[in-house]
Amino acid sequence: MSDSIMIQVDKLNKSFGDLHVLKDIDMTVKESDVVCLIGASGSGKSTLLRCLNFLEIKDSGIITFEGSQVEKETHDLNEVRQKVGMVFQHFHLFPHKTVIENVMEAPIYVKKVPKAQAEKDALALLEKVGLSDKKDVYPSKLSGGQKQRVAIARSLAMKPDIMLFDEPTSALDPELVGEVLATMKELAEEGMTMIVVTHEMGFAREVADWAVYMHDGRIVEVGHPEQLFNHPKEERTKNFLDSVL
C-alpha cells in the first residue's frame, strides 16, 4: 500500500432543502485503499459517494482529489469524473447499446480514443470480467450479475484512479452476488482504490482495509473491518450491526 493520498474530505456538508444529509464529514483515502461504507438507510452513504463524484455538489467543506482542491468554479468536473468511476446499484447500462458499445462509448466520445483501439481495450476489459462472449448482446439479455460486471468494465474503460460502488450487489439475486464480488475483489488485489457501500460483511472483512460506519449524516466510527464488526467501540455501531447481522 502506498502512502499517497487519493482523496481527502474536510468538513463536508450537504443539505437537500431543510434536510441536512452530510454533517462535517472528514475522510482520507489513500492510494490502493479499499474502504467499506456501512450505515442504515438514509444515513447519507449514497450522497457521500455522489459528492465525491460531483454528481451532487457539496454545500461546504473541501474535497481534495489527487492533491488538488476541487471546486466547480475552478475545475472542469467532467474531467474530474473521468478519474472517478462509479458503479450503481441498478447498473444503469445503456439499453440501446450492445455490451461492447456500452464499454466503448465514453472512451470514444470523451477521450477521443480511436474506435479500433477502444474496441480492443473494451474486449480486454470484458475478458477480465468474464463476459467477452456477450460482447454483442444488448443489456436486456443479461442477468443482473452480468449487467453489473459490464457496468464495472464500462467504468474501468475510462481508466479511473478510484472506483466508487454504491450497493453494487443489493439489487441482485443472492446466487449472483458472488460473481460481482469476485470481480471487485480482483480489482482490489490489482491495487484499485475503492470506496464501497455494502452490507456484504464477508466481502468487507476479506477485502477492505478499513470500514466506516455512518449514522444520520455523520461518520460515527472508523476502523479495521474485523475490529469494527466484532468489537465496535460505539453503541450506535453495535446497535446497527446487531440489526443487520
Partner: protein, 215 residues
C-alpha cells in the same frame, strides 16, 4: 360501377393532389420536429423564463383552431411574398411543433434519471449525455406518438384547401362542384386519404420494429 369509372377518369389529377398533400405533410412535419425539439428543450431547461416561452407557444397553438392559424400564416406570409404552399407548410409546422414538443418532452422525461447519471459519471458532459444516451432512447419512445401526430398532420393538411392550395381535398371539392356530384368525389378522396394513412402506418410500424430489436 359508376364510382369506379369516376375514380379512373380522375386519378391523374387526384394523384397530383396526393403528391401535394404528401409534400405538405412531410415538409411541415420535418420542420415541426426541429421546432418541437427546440421547445421541448426549453421546457426541460429548468430556466423559468424559457419554460414560460414554451408554455406560451403551446398555449397559443392549443388555444386556437388550426384553420385560424393557417389563415393567419397564409395572409401574413403571402403578404411578404412567400408562396401559398410555403405559408401553409409553415402554419402546419407551427401547429404540429407544439404537439411534437410535448411528445419529445414526455419521452425525454420518461428516461430514467440514472441514464444521465451514468453518462455523467463516465465524464460525459450533460450535452453529450443528452445526445448520445438520452435522445436515442427518447426518440424510440417518441416514435409511436410521433407516427400518430404525423397521421393527424396528414389529415389536417386538408385545411390548406381553404387558402387555395391544390391538394387532395381541394381537388375533391373542385371536381364535385364542376360535376355537380360532391358525394362521389368526397368518397373517392376518402379512399386516397385512407391509402396514404395506411401507407404511413405501415412505415411507422416497420421503423418501430427495427428500433425495438434491442429491447
Amino acid at each position: 360501377m359508376d364510382l369506379l369509372t369516376k375514380f379512373i377518369d380522375t386519378y391523374p389529377i387526384f394523384l397530383k393532389g396526393m403528391l401535394l398533400t404528401f409534400q405538405l405533410t412531410i415538409v411541415s412535419i420535418f420542420i415541426a420536429i426541429f421546432i418541437g425539439l427546440f421547445f421541448a428543450f426549453l421546457k426541460i431547461s429548468k430556466v423559468k423564463i424559457l419554460e414560460w416561452i414554451a408554455d406560451l407557444y403551446i398555449f397559443l397553438v392549443r388555444g386556437t383552431p388550426l384553420v385560424v392559424q393557417i389563415f393567419i400564416f397564409y395572409f401574413g406570409l403571402t403578404s411578404l411574398n412567400i408562396s401559398g404552399f410555403w405559408s401553409v407548410v409553415l402554419g402546419l409546422a407551427f401547429h404540429n411543433g407544439a404537439y411534437i414538443a410535448e411528445i419529445f418532452r414526455g419521452a425525454i422525461q420518461s428516461i430514467d434519471n440514472g441514464q444521465m447519471e451514468a453518462g455523467r459519471s463516465l465524464g460525459m458532459s450533460a450535452g453529450l449525455s443528452m445526445r448520445r444516451i438520452i435522445l436515442p432512447q427518447a426518440s424510440r419512445r417518441a416514435l409511436p406518438p410521433l407516427g400518430n401526430q404525423f397521421i393527424i398532420a396528414l389529415k389536417d393538411s386538408s385545411l390548406a384547401s381553404f387558402v387555395g392550395v391544390y391538394e387532395l381535398f381541394n381537388i375533391a371539392t373542385t371536381q364535385g362542384s364542376i360535376k355537380y356530384d360532391y358525394m362521389s368525389y368526397l368518397l373517392i378522396v376518402a379512399v386516397y386519404y385512407l391509402v396514404l394513412v395506411l401507407f404511413f402506418s405501415i412505415i411507422v410500424s416497420i421503423i418501430e420494429k427495427r428500433m425495438a430489436s434491442s429491447d
